[in-house]
């Protein structure tokens, strides 16, 4: 439709100019230039084909209506042959030049966009590299003083071994230091996931080993209350990044610990569920009320939720039958293929 419109406009323009020229008895030279201007605009507007066609139609009309003898295609005066050829030649040249200018402008625009896009990509790449190095630096700068603090705390423990009144204080410092360390670990892991700098690296991980690492990470929780661990005999390994699994479970156990009364038991359980592994942390605390928000429930649960999702799993928190809460994480199960057997 659009192409048809171009042809129609071209024909209309030439006819209108010709009619105007005939009506006003314009002199041939002025008419030639008028046609030329029309050709310039038509080719700039509609491109090569219309430009060339307009040149030819204009040449024909010029000859037929304005060059003597009028109303024939015959040209008598050799000077008019020169004028006609000059007209055809210049209108074709003009078409070509206009089109060349047009495509140069388009090329320049394309280059400008390309340069801008490259600059944008480069900026993104730089900010990505910046993020990575910032995270590395942050991780190093936070864990270095924390390591020094925890060594110094151990030193204090050794030096105050004979002073029971100090032992409690030192143990509390040690406990808070490791809590701070876990929070920093959590935040760095979240930042890494967010920045796309850390892709989980799953491998078959026995649930018993996840629970064992949790016990090593939270010695005070395990020594201050009964913690029952059960792993179903037919429970497969979870296919999960071991660090993420540990972080998820440490957050859930810490949360259950804070919610529970002194001495109240916590249970850790692992069981198969279809092609998944279900890990649960069960407590006898107050349970959850449905209107509680992140601020009330703590950052730990939100972190557990994000990390479970990043591990291709899911997380939910429910009230437990008989009081308390159950935090449930479902992770993909590992499928172990043992080819051949040495026995």
């Amino acid at each position: 439709m659009r192409v048809f419109g171009h042809w129609l406009t071209m024909a209309g323009t030439i006819i209108a100019l010709t009619a105007g020229g005939v009506a006003t008895h314009i002199n041939p030279t002025t008419m030639g230039f008028t046609y030329l201007i029309a050709v310039v605009f038509l080719s700039a507007w509609a491109g090569l084909r219309i430009g060339v066609a307009a040149s030819i139609v204009a040449t024909f009309c010029y000859n037929f209506f304005f060059l003597p003898p009028l109303h024939t295609l015959h040209v008598e005066d050799p000077r008019n042959w020169v004028a006609l050829s000059a007209f055809l030649f210049s209108s074709l040249m003009v078409t070509r030049l206009v089109l060349a200018a047009r495509s140069q402008a388009a090329e320049a625009e394309r280059r400008r966009i390309e340069v801008e896009a490259n600059a944008h990509i480069e900026a993104l790449r730089e900010s990505d590299a910046l993020k990575t190095s910032l995270l590395r630096a942050l991780s190093h700068d936070l864990s270095t003083p924390l390591t020094a603090i925890s060594i110094q705390t151990e030193s204090l423990k050794r030096q105050t071994a004979g002073a029971p009144e100090l032992a409690g204080t030192v143990a509390a410092i040690a406990d808070e230091t490791s809590r701070l360390r876990r929070r920093i670990d959590n935040l760095l892991t979240m930042a890494r996931l967010e920045a796309g700098r850390f892709a989980p690296h799953p491998e078959p991980t026995p649930p018993a080993d996840i629970f064992r690492s949790v016990r090593e990470s939270l010695p005070l929780v395990f020594s201050s209350r009964p913690v029952a661990i059960s792993v179903a005999a037919d429970c497969p390994d979870a296919y999960v990044d071991p660090w993420l699994a540990l972080e998820i479970m440490v957050n859930l156990v810490e949360n259950a610990h804070r919610a529970s009364a002194t001495g109240a038991p916590i249970e850790l359980a692992a069981a198969p569920l279809d092609s998944r592994v279900r890990l649960e942390v069960l407590d006898r605390g107050p349970g959850i009320s449905h209107d509680s928000d992140v601020a009330q429930r703590g950052l730990g649960l939100e972190i557990a939720r994000s990390l479970a999702a990043a591990s291709g799993g899911s997380f939910e928190l429910e009230n437990r039958n008989g009081g308390g809460a159950v935090a449930r994480v479902e992770l993909p199960a590992a499928v172990l293929a043992a080819e051949g057997d040495a026995e």
């Binding site: 995270l135 390591t147 760095l188 491998e203 661990i229 043992a338 051949g340």
Partner: protein, 229 residues
């Protein structure tokens, strides 16, 4: 009294000095260095029994130090790695480091790793290994737990033998495949995992809370010589 010498290489004076003080309190002689280059020259002059080194350091890093040292001796090396740099840790192990702790590590854990590494060079290889109530008789290839004999298949015993003779130290998947399966082409990590889980079921008094064998993420397994809790 223990008078083994340990070289501590870390660019952070807070860690370097406190670590060195606690190691001395634990009965070791210590030398400190602030980077890989200083570490290498201290290593050459002091000839320590064990090297504890950080990885990221200015001038010359831990990787350079480890590969330089592995060029001329087998002294145990424990790497102090940072959480989230697991690729660095694996690279250090590939270069010849024997073990690692992740910063911020706990001191008792580090001391246990140090003891495990130093034990290697002192003990003449015994034929009977004892851990709590578990006894592994390497010559008669028998395992007893208390008064009960644990029946293991040939593969399971070889796995246990490899881990128990390296008690306290990480044993890599590749090492296990090479030693137990003679690098047979069909042996995959999954093969190892299946046999290992069978061994653990027979060996662990409570499979829900492993006492002896634990997985070491991305590395392999570790036999726990000293119970931590």
């Amino acid at each position: 009294m223990n008078e083994r010498a340990i070289l501590v290489v870390d660019d952070d004076p807070g860690i370097r000095d406190s670590l060195s003080r606690e190691l001395r309190a634990a009965g070791y002689a210590t030398t400190i260095a602030a980077d890989g280059r200083e570490g290498l020259s201290a290593f050459r002059t002091q000839a320590p029994d064990l090297l504890l080194t950080d990885l990221a350091m200015p001038v010359s890093d831990g990787f350079e130090l480890i590969s330089a040292i592995r060029g001329f001796c087998r002294t145990p090396v424990i790497v102090l790695s940072v959480r989230g740099s697991d690729a660095d840790k694996i690279r250090a192990l590939d270069l010849g480091a024997d073990d690692f702790v992740t910063k911020p590590f706990s001191l008792p854990e580090l001391l246990a790793r140090v003891r495990a590494q130093l034990r290697r060079s002192t003990s003449a290889s015994p034929t009977v290994l004892e851990f709590d109530d578990l006894t592994v008789d390497l010559e008669r290839r028998r395992v007893t737990q208390g008064s009960r004999e644990v029946k293991l298949t040939r593969t399971e015993f070889s796995l246990l033998e490899l881990l128990a003779t390296h008690a306290g130290k990480p044993v890599f998947m590749e090492q296990i495949i090479a030693r137990v399966w003679d690098s047979a082409a069909w042996t995959t990590h999954d093969t190892v995992r299946v046999h290992m889980s069978a061994l653990r079921r027979k060996l662990e008094p409570d499979p829900s809370s492993p006492r002896y064998i634990v997985t070491e993420p991305w590395v392999g397994y570790r036999f726990i010589a000293e119970p931590t809790s």
